[in-house]
């Protein structure tokens, strides 16, 4: 590999990592507060992508006819962005209300199974629904793709967009959790549910907010993934969801900067492992993961928690 290929592969890894990061942020946030591995998170992402797709065909021409030129494109993008956030968030809220809330004080792994159930339901339901169907769909080009030459490497504006959005969301989430009232409540619930309740915090509303935010993040990720990799189908959330979960664990699950760091490491490791030998690329990526975890059993940025006796 020469320098220009390496540089190009780094950008490829960054793009892949950005998509993982967008999903992993919501994953890690929900986990940090509810301690639930939300297997359905990847499907919230899929819902976001489908909502954007549907919205584009529902109002695309209307917006294009009522506004002119670039304003139309910007307005349409904003509407679709909001739509993807709302749909992702709503599905997450509903899942929380019906499938997770009744199991709140039960063994932690019962809600894991309902999470798998929710995930399967969303996938199979959309696939069986005649309007959506199982077929692959091409995602519309909301933003024109342009490429820039960055030295010897070629970078598209989507790489920059994904990187930018991932960074903005990470900062937003960090500020939210560290400096706002609801953030304080979230941290309190995460540390000790019962004590938080005694302090007068409405645990359920805090958790609902968490799901709403996590779900809307997944929705945005779905929209961006649809733009970057313009192909959507009902099972599109399984693999990225799994990878994002791994990334979140790698960074230290529950830790927001950790999720982003883990995602970029995953993205770059996968890209380079594939470049070295594409037949066993995935295996190499997993091996790296295992080695990292053996040396940092609590994840890269996770805190070591002492066992209580």
């Amino acid at each position: 590999m020469d320098i220009s290929t390496i540089l190009q592969q780094i950008f490829n890894g960054l793009q892949l990592g950005s998509i993982y990061a967008l999903i992993a942020l919501g994953y890690t946030m929900v986990y940090g507060i509810v301690r639930l591995i939300n297997f359905a998170h990847g499907d919230f992402y899929m819902i976001g992508a489908y909502a954007s797709y549907g919205l584009f065909f529902a109002i695309g021409t209307l917006v294009a006819s009522s506004f002119s030129g670039p304003t139309a494109a910007i307005i349409l993008f904003i509407i679709i962005l909001l739509g993807s956030m709302i749909s992702g968030g709503t599905i997450a809220l509903l899942a929380n209300q019906f499938a997770y809330k009744p199991l709140r004080n039960k063994p932690r792994l019962s809600s894991l199974i309902t999470a798998i159930g929710v995930s399967m339901f969303l996938e199979y339901f959309l696939s069986a629904l005649p309007v959506v169907g199982p077929s692959y769909r091409g995602f519309p080009e909301l933003i024109k793709k342009t490429t820039y030459n960055f030295g010897p490497a070629i970078v598209s504006n989507f790489v920059l967009l994904d990187l930018g959005v991932a960074a903005i969301l990470m900062i937003f989430l960090t500020v939210l959790v560290r400096y706002t009232k609801i953030g304080k409540a979230m941290r309190a619930v995460s540390q000790d549910k019962d004590a938080a309740k005694l302090m007068g915090i409405n645990i359920e509303s805090v958790i609902a907010t968490t799901f709403l935010i996590g779900g809307s993040f997944a929705g945005v990720a779905g929209l961006l993934a649809g733009l970057t990799y313009p192909r959507i189908y009902p099972y599109m959330g399984i693999l990225p969801g799994l990878k994002a979960f791994i990334a979140a664990v790698l960074g230290g699950i529950g830790n927001i900067p950790g999720a982003v760091l883990g995602s970029y490491i995953m993205g770059i490791a996968e890209t380079f492992a594939t470049a070295v030998n594409s037949l066993i690329g995935e295996g190499i990526a997993f091996a790296i993961l295992i080695v990292v975890l053996l040396f940092r059993p609590q994840g890269l940025l996770g805190e070591k928690v002492a066992d209580k006796i």
């Binding site: 699950i253 995935e282 997993f286 053996l294």
Partner: protein
């Protein structure tokens, strides 16, 4: 007649009064009845096939329950062990020896191949068990998932066993009695382990690892033990599966199938052998029953409801099972015939 308490005859009689022996004999009777019903075409091959698949899942779920439910080590790469067992035994029967299920000695060779597959899977379990000494909870889960995927990637790239084409033309050695007896033996062995001193040690690790270390339990040894035994039986299950459907394919041992076995363990009740058995049967029969159910529904309402709705209903029912039986179908309880007589006081296994 007055029997001497220590006479050979009374010991003999007492042996047959033990629940687990009764359970074994009872199961054999059930097996014979099913075989008879099949002979007289009351149960067709379709039902037998579903029972066979369910029994393979029983082996996989019960063995995963030993790791997850009893020892509390969150492992989600169980199908990786099954893959090792399946490929090992199938390589021996299909590629090396090229035997066919025609004579009794060949069946013996098959059983040896199956056991070898189990042993190799156990060895893999030994290797994968090591990280469990350092990692906990979800971190361990990711680790096992990673190992499972690595195993799959390896088989996908060995051309000798077919690579992504899969290992083909495996002889059909897994007949109903063989699968049935293997499943029963798995249940009995794991049940005996769980109710032994070693089993107590495993349970104490699940409840509190630090505390059990403080009372002098060698947690390292026991965690590895759980992984090795769980992996051994998973390997046997994998071998049976390969010889049942006559193909071993890397995708059959992917992440989604590990999740399916995990669902069976938790939907049945973590730490309950009978729960895993029931869940394996209920979920397999449910998935097939919905097929027939939807077909009758289509006839009834004169509107075609395709097979694609099957899994939609399946996933909804799964959610409902967990909502109404939050600790799984059996909770932590065990059916009575699996509990030793000495434990009758509270009827719980823990």
């Amino acid at each position: 007649m007055k029997l001497n308490k220590n006479s050979f005859f009374s010991q003999f009689l007492n042996f047959f009064k033990r629940r687990i022996v009764l359970f074994f004999i009872g199961s054999l009777l059930v097996m014979l009845i099913i075989m008879l019903l099949h002979q007289f075409e009351i149960l067709n091959s379709y039902i037998i096939q579903i029972i066979n698949v369910s029994l393979v899942y029983v082996i996989l779920a019960v063995s995963l329950n030993l790791i997850n439910g009893f020892t509390g080590q969150f492992s989600i790469g169980h199908m990786g062990f099954a893959a090792v067992g399946a490929y090992t035994s199938a390589t021996i029967t299909t590629l090396l020896l090229k035997i066919t299920p025609t004579s009794l000695p060949n069946y013996l060779v098959f059983i040896i191949a199956l056991l070898l597959g189990g042993c190799l899977a156990g060895l893999t379990g030994f290797i994968i068990g090591f990280p469990s000494l350092r990692l906990k909870g979800d971190y361990l889960a990711i680790m096992t998932l990673g190992f499972g995927e690595i195993i799959r990637t390896i088989f996908n790239n060995i051309n000798y066993v077919g690579g992504p084409r899969g290992l083909l033309g495996i002889p059909k050695f897994s007949t109903f009695p063989i699968i049935f007896i293997t499943a029963i033996l798995t249940i009995i062995i794991i049940r005996n382990l769980v109710f032994s001193t070693h089993g107590r040690a495993l349970l104490s690790i699940r409840e509190n690892e630090v505390a059990s270390e403080l009372v002098g339990i060698d947690t390292t040894r026991y965690k590895i033990l759980a992984f090795v035994i769980g992996a051994f039986f998973a390997g046997i299950g994998g071998g049976l599966l390969a010889h049942l459907i006559q193909i071993a394919h890397p995708t059959q041992f992917g992440f989604m199938y590990s999740i399916l076995v995990l669902i069976m363990v938790y939907a049945g009740g973590m730490g309950s052998i009978s729960g895993s058995v029931i869940a394996a049967f209920v979920l397999t029969f449910l998935s097939e029953g919905l097929r027939v159910g939807l077909a009758s529904l289509s006839d009834l309402i004169k509107f075609p409801v395709g097979d694609q709705w099957r899994m939609v209903i399946y996933s909804l029912l799964l959610i409902f099972i967990m909502l109404f039986r939050t600790e799984g179908l059996m909770g932590m309880k065990e059916l009575k015939f699996l509990i030793p007589e000495e434990e009758d006081i509270d009827g719980k296994c823990s």
